[in-house]
Each structure stands twice: as C-alpha cells, then as structure tokens.
Symmetry: C2
Subunit: 356 residues, 2 copies
C-alpha cells in the first residue's frame, strides 16, 4: 500500500480530530466520523465494553437511523460485535445474510439495510475496551481497510482512555468538593442536603441559560462551595435556636466573604469565587457584602442566589414551616427583576410544572 | 511525496506516542524523540512560550549535551527560536555560521556543533504556544521535512494543550481540597498550617519510598484530607483549654472515622479513605479506631502517621512547648517498628540533616 501526501494529510487530520477533545463522547464520535469517511463506507458504530456488566453499549453511531440505536446494548459474546469483543479478533463479513450470527434486529430498529461489515476490537494495554463496527463498503471491505483500521484502532482506544482519565479526574474533584462542602453544611442543623440541592438547581438553571462545558462545571463548583464560609461561624451562632443579635447576624452575613477567601488565589477559580462571594447580593442593591445592583452581580452569583433562596424557602426552619414549591416560586416571581435576576427565575420556573 | 505503508505506520505510531501521555513533559519528550527519528536529524529541542513572561523556556531536548541546556530561556524575538515564536513562521537555516541571528552560546554550553536547522512554530487555535527546533540533518532540511513537520506540529501542540488541561484540572482539585481542608483545620486553634505541612512531609516520604505518579497524588490527597473529620467535633471540645474528659477524648478520636465517612463511596478514593481512617493506628496495635498492627495498616496511613506525629511534636500546644526537630526525630526513632513504620521514619530522617 502506498499513501499519497493527500492521504497522509487526511490521516494526520483524522488523528488530530480523534485527540482534539478530552470528552469521551466527542472522542468517539469524531473518531468514527473520520474513519467512516476515510474508509469510504456507509455507516459505523462504536461500542464500549463495561467489564462490570459484561456488556457492550452503543456509544457512537454514524449513518442513517443512528438515532434509534442509542442506548442499545449487547452481551459479551452476543452477535458479531459481542464475539469480536470476546475474542479480541477482527472479523469481516462479506454478506450478512449468509451469517448465522447476524442479528437483523438492529437493522429493523434503524431502518438500515446492512450488507457487509468489518468489526475491529479497540484495545488498551492489550485489553479489549470496545469494538468499532463499519457497515456497507461498496464491493466489500478489503485487506487494506483492515490494515488501516489496525493502525487507527490503537489511537482511538488511547484517546478514549485519555478522555476517560480526564473525566474521572473531574468527577473525583466534583464529588470530593461536594463531600467536603456537605460535611461543612452539616454543622448547620437547619440545612440538611442544602448544598446538593443548590448544586442541582444551579446546574439546571445554567443549562437552560445555555451555560455549557467548562463554564457549567465552574458554575456547579461555585454552587457546591457557596456556603463553605460557614466553617468560620462558631457553633453557638450557627446552632442558636432563638433569634440572633445584630452582631450575630452580621457575623453570619460574613460567610460569603469567608467562603470566597478560602478559595481565592487558586488559579482558574475567579468566577467560582465570585459566585461564592456575591450569592447574597440582590438586584435592588439590598444584598451583602457590597450592595451590588443586578448588572454588577456576577452571573454565577445571580443564578446561585435564586437556587439558594428557592431551597431555603422550601425547607423547614425552626421559626417557620417550609413553603410549598408553588408558594416559593410565587415568592421569587413577585420579586424578579427587583431582588432576583429575571432570567434565572424564569429558568427555575420552567423546571417546575407547578410554577408555569 | 509518497509514503509507504511502513512510513505510515511510523507516523501513526509517532502520533500515538505523542498522545499516549497526559503529562506535559512526557508529551513533549515523546513528540520530539519521534520527530527527530522520523526526520533523521541529529538533535532537537522544544521551547514553550510563557505569555506572561514573554519568554521561551527549554522544555524538551533530544541529542548530545542536552543536560546542560535545561532551564535555559530566550526572550520573544531573541535568536532564531525567539524570532519564529514572534513571527509564527517557520525558518530553515542551511548554514548557521552565515546567520547573524545564530547564538553560539547554546552550542558552547552543550558542546554541540550546530550546522543547519529547521525551526517551526507550535500553534494552538492560531496562537503560538512554543517552537520546535531540529538540528543537523545531513545535506540540510528539505521541503518534504518542512511538509512533514507542518503536519505534525498541530498534533504536538494539541497534545500539549490536552496535557496542560489535565494538569490544570489536577492542580485545581489539589489546591481546592487543600483550601477546604485548611479551612476545616483552622477551627482547631492549635493546628495552624498543620494540613499543609503533613501534606508536604507525606509527599516527600512517599517520593523517597518510590511512590510515584497517580499513587503519589492519591497519597497527597489522603494527607490533605487526613483531619477533615474534625468538622464533626463540636467547637467546645476542639477549643477546650483544660484537659479533656474520657468521653470528650473518645469523641475526638472519632475524627479519622468521620473523615473516612465523608470521602467514602467516591469511586477511586479507596486508598485515600484508608489513609484518613487509619492515620492514628500504631504498629503495636495501640492505635485507633481498629487497633491494627503494622502489616495490617494501609501504607498511606503508615506514612501520614509519621508526618502527622512529627508535625504535632514540633508545634506548640497549650499544654507543652514545641519539641525541636532533633527531639521530634529522636522520639520517632526510638519508637520505629514499635509505634511507627520503620521505612517511613527512616525516610523522614533522611529529609532532615539533623536527624541523620
């Protein structure tokens, strides 16, 4: 096989596409799209092996009817993809109608008509981590296609491993931060589960407002950490059952600043710190610590404020009962624009059918 | 240009090498090594641009005399590498003796004799992030070498960006965990800076004991989190000035278990949790919570125990003065094997000249 400069460029371009992301879904989709185009076949899929479950899951699909196949799975050893995952050996089938192993269910689900296929294992450190399946090459798959996939399967598997590692690291971080923030939260006897719920509401509001990727992760981290400054408030004030003195109230109102100081100075956390520091600011300037107005309040803080107040209102306090979701949403709606950022309130409303 | 199947395989192999790691140093070294071998030249270097400093730093070197060049830097615009970084355009020089820009200092430092060179910018999203410089190809660098580097510079830059992102994520995690643990630590008025020092000692002991990479990161995280369980101890006990009652002491001794419970259940944290839970165990079975003996105590816990006790002894307490480093090391030496794991004590001793 001889490869022209143009082909080489395409292969290098494909490999760059494969490695251009650290998001597993994106890695698999880009890999598959590039390989299908390079080989010149009609469709393809990548299946990822879950060792614990002994199953292959559809992870990326290129071609007609792809939508209907999402979420499908196969047992190890089942069908052609399952047998390749089990044996670790590639297979070419020139006419699926003549193969007893071919399962026509997938074609039926996707209204696709499979004629021939090439299925190749994806291996990392000698272990199968998935398979790539290519469908319908005119005239059938040839030895040079196998040779090409042989060269590309390694990089695809490695890119997937890198992406998994990155994802693992991010999850570990998020979950550890949540565990620590929840532990800090627990000192306040009135706020069980508050951190987790504020994280959830803030994340959903952020998604509705088209915050995504890295920015969404930062918003979530800011929500996780919004109350960590309470670590600086003594037990006797945090747990006081009666009403607070003016001085005690002022001390409690220091928690956004204390929280910001804890995280401040870590490179890359600027917007996270803002969300923590300003989540008690209000649009009309009546909040603390700085009495900012709506446009001055950083966007993470505006979102967390709405999530925070909604959760506080719908949770029981020693001095009042919990409001119903409807009552809490009404409360926020009445004050949108005045106390709370309209867009965040609207986004929250859209999450709850009662509030619409 | 036509590329044979063998060449193609080498290029794909090189790209796989480039992307096989998420450690920036490793990415650069593997890239450079592969490119030098593929182009068939004598030596090469990669310089990374620090935008804040407006300087290029030597990051990877392949070839004779490489050792002497580590840590060198160039201003943007300075010399040939500096001019390529500034212009973003590649340069080929067929005879450096005829070039007024060539700085012979680097040759002198490395005892290398540069004849010709090819310098190429590394770009990510259109911005120069560094340069790759190749030295001494017999007969000089040709247009096909430039074409090849043109194809490979993108993947190298992208792999470096991925690795930087991963490194950034890990640093963010470590520093945020340290910030939160330090904030928790601060509730105990007697332990200022304790967490950070235990992290430092544990990390150094770990390195001496050949713990590396991912495992070292986990040890460090375990050291950062070893006392987070103190969040569950009420202020009045943590801050009590007089001696503790039996019940109060039992409560304080719950902190390793409380800390373990906080982190438990997060996938990938098993060894981290062990380090937290068992850092008050002692080799002779006299520790808590489970009275384990040396072999039963997980290795992270054995290391953190030594770091923890050394720091406690050398810090002032209301009921006693701080011991000197020598006195604290003597204390540990006298109890090695009996209370503390010998190897960790020896590693700690080797860190302090006084203790040898």
């Amino acid at each position: 096989m001889n490869t022209s400069a143009a082909d080489l460029k395409r292969i290098i371009h494909l490999l760059s596409e494969i490695y251009s992301s650290l998001e597993p879904e994106e890695v698999l989709f880009q890999s598959l799209k590039g390989i299908v185009s390079l080989i010149g076949c009609e469709a393809g899929s990548i299946w990822e092996l879950s060792e614990e479950e002994g199953k292959l899951f559809f992870r990326a699909i290129v071609g007609r009817g792809a939508e209907n196949l999402k979420g499908k799975s196969l047992h190890l050893g089942e069908g052609i993809a399952g047998s390749v995952a089990a044996s670790g050996k590639p297979r070419v089938i020139d006419d699926v109608r003549k193969s007893s192993e071919w399962n026509p269910d997938f074609d039926r689900a996707s209204s696709f008509h499979t004629e021939n296929l090439l299925t190749f294992p994806l291996k990392s450190r000698g272990k199968v981590i998935g398979v790539i399946q290519l469908l319908n090459k005119e005239g059938g798959f040839r030895s040079e296609d196998i040779e090409l996939i042989e060269n590309l399967a390694g990089p695809v598997a490695m890119a997937l491993e890198n992406a998994r590692l990155y994802l693992f690291q991010k999850r570990l971080f998020k979950e550890t931060a949540l565990a620590l923030a929840t532990a800090i939260d627990k000192r306040d006897p009135y706020t069980g589960g508050h951190t987790k719920r504020v994280l959830e509401y803030s994340g959903k509001i952020g998604e509705i407002l088209d915050i995504e990727g890295n920015e969404l992760e930062k918003l979530e981290l800011s929500a996780i950490l919004h109350d960590v400054g309470k670590i600086g408030i003594p037990d006797e004030i945090l747990r006081k059952k009666g009403s607070l003195t003016e001085e005690e109230r002022r001390l409690i109102e220091k928690h956004p600043e204390i929280g910001a100081e804890i995280v401040e100075g870590i490179p890359g956390t600027e917007s996270i710190v803002e969300g923590i520091k300003y989540h008690h600011e209000r649009c009309d300037g009546s909040g603390y610590p700085d009495g900012l107005t709506c446009e001055e309040i950083p966007i993470f803080a505006r979102i967390i404020a709405v999530a925070d107040v909604y959760d506080a209102l719908t949770s029981e306090r020693p001095y009042r009962k919990a409001l119903s979701p409807q009552e809490a949403l009404d409360y926020l709606k009445e004050r949108e624009g005045q106390k709370f950022w309209e867009e965040a309130v609207r986004a929250l409303l859209s999450l709850f059918p009662v509030g619409k």
